[in-house]
Symmetry: C2
């Protein structure tokens, strides 16, 4: 049996989980490189993608591997973030409360949501105990319903956290009731896969992006599985509707994209392009192709070659 076959056997016997940690540094290439190095070279973990945005001042890493390997990588990344990112000097367009801002674990193959919840609790405990950073559990890992939504957990931002942690209902799940002085607070949790989807507008005035974000997000009456904010992209002289699409089967990318185009047209603002941060499931994109090509009867579960090969 060849080496590559042995490799396949290992992969297919293993539980696979994904981790997509977000760090509050998108400008300093030295810090970003240090984070990258921390994610590499851990047995059983692949760094699939990393992406930095100077206007968000934020970097997103995508890790895939065994639960133990991915946990170890997430913890090492947090340590590097704590040692290199000073939140008292951080500014950026994206909401944030910590150097390691949010650390979600996602079941991919051979693993369950419960296992990812377990992993998130273990990692949050380590971050609090070993790194001195208080942690909230969010998403499927939440210990109170009002902590399920990341936006609620993060409300107040880094600057508001010292006060928030002292409120009775906002005692951290792990760690004390004072922020880490430079690394703030970290949210750790388990969730389903999501698509980080941003649509860019050709205007420096952020009001259009904010108004469109409000119109399309579920929390203010828009699409159920769409979270959206309007942000300014200073370096590009542009603005952006920045989204998390948390269930693309129910609320597809194309539905939201077309709604944004309609709103933008009414406001007289051009849609200049879109971006997906990190990875997206093939189905989320194939559904868009089906919509735009009017492929009414196309059955993505039967008619996509690669998924049929995998199925075998």
């Amino acid at each position: 049996m060849t080496q590559s076959c042995i490799h396949y056997i290992i992969i297919f016997m293993e539980k696979l989980i994904e981790c997509v940690p977000n760090f509050s540094e998108g400008r300093d290439m030295g810090v970003i490189a240090a984070l990258r190095r921390a994610a590499e070279g851990i047995s059983g973990v692949a760094l699939l993608d990393y992406s930095s945005d100077p206007d968000h001042n934020r970097s997103v890493f995508t890790l895939l591997g065994s639960p133990d390997g991915v946990s170890e990588a997430a913890f090492r990344l947090c340590r590097v973030a704590r040692d290199n990112i000073d939140m008292t000097r951080h500014s950026g367009a994206h909401p944030r409360m910590g150097a390691a801002d949010v650390i979600p674990f996602i079941p991919i193959r051979g693993s369950t949501m419960d296992e990812c919840v377990e992993v998130s609790r273990r990692v949050a405990g380590l971050i609090a105990n070993e790194l001195g950073i208080p942690c909230f559990l969010y998403g499927e890992s939440c210990t109170r319903e009002e902590r399920r939504d990341l936006a609620s957990v993060r409300r107040g931002g880094f600057e508001g956290m010292p006060h928030k942690l002292l409120q009775e209902e906002w005692a951290p799940d792990f760690g004390g009731r004072a922020i880490h002085p430079t690394a703030g607070v970290t949210a750790v949790g388990a969730r389903k896969p999501l698509v980080a989807f941003n649509v860019n507008l050709g205007t420096p005035d952020v009001r259009a992006a904010k108004s469109i974000a409000k119109a399309i997000r579920g929390s203010s009456g828009g699409f159920a599985h769409c979270k959206a904010i309007g942000v300014k992209l200073e370096s590009r002289g542009a603005t952006q509707v920045s989204m998390n699409m948390v269930d693309c089967d129910s609320t597809p990318l194309h539905t939201v994209y077309e709604a944004i185009c309609e709103h933008a047209a009414r406001l007289g603002v051009p849609v200049t392009g879109s971006e997906i941060i990190g990875l997206a499931p093939a189905d989320a994109l194939i559904d868009c192709a089906k919509h735009f090509l009017k492929l009414g009867d196309f059955d993505r579960d039967r008619q996509v070659l690669e998924s049929r090969i995998l199925e075998l």
Copy 2:
């Protein structure tokens, strides 16, 4: 090691090829069921898809498996087609010359085009010798450059074949110079994957479909890797631009779809929908999503989760 792991090992060690045979029967459910049964239950072969169209009067099967298994399935299907389809009584919108009209073999994984050429020669020999049906080799298997293009090989159709086979340059590659009286002639070959993509027009007048097909196909000056004909869909009171997209990396589906929409709009004819017959590679669809969502920097080789998992 579990049974399913053993199964994975077998699949990954095996050469995988695809075969997409087309048969000239799309109406008689008894014959279609007999064809389906012939394709099932062969060790090492999966019947991934089958699709029948009453207006084309044609069925397309998609087989995946080992070269030996797929060859055996293709041969058995041809025998059932010969015994059950009478071309002297066949009518349909799609060009055709035989009961088993065209049998392409496609390298998928661990196999080469040369191996598929070899398979096509072997199967064509069997069809001629065992079933008494003369065969042309086409595509990558062609023995003369003018037989590379299926449309050239098939020109004249079933009705024209008795005369064509007697022409000096059209001696079959296998079999004698007379058609099988009821099964006609079969084209067998090897080719790259293609996407069978049809766009439907909301008019019963076939002139728009024919004029659009002529404008977009490479052979009359349109898109290089697009083959197209205009056909009438009697049962639906509609018409169709029926295409083979033979290189979606170079000529993407969305480019051709948008060109068809523009031509149709100029002719005042509505585009009512599209269809993909059989299977399509995920990348051909993901490229469409990227185009329509304006995902300028999206890197399909890095940012699609499933392909990264496979890569591991």
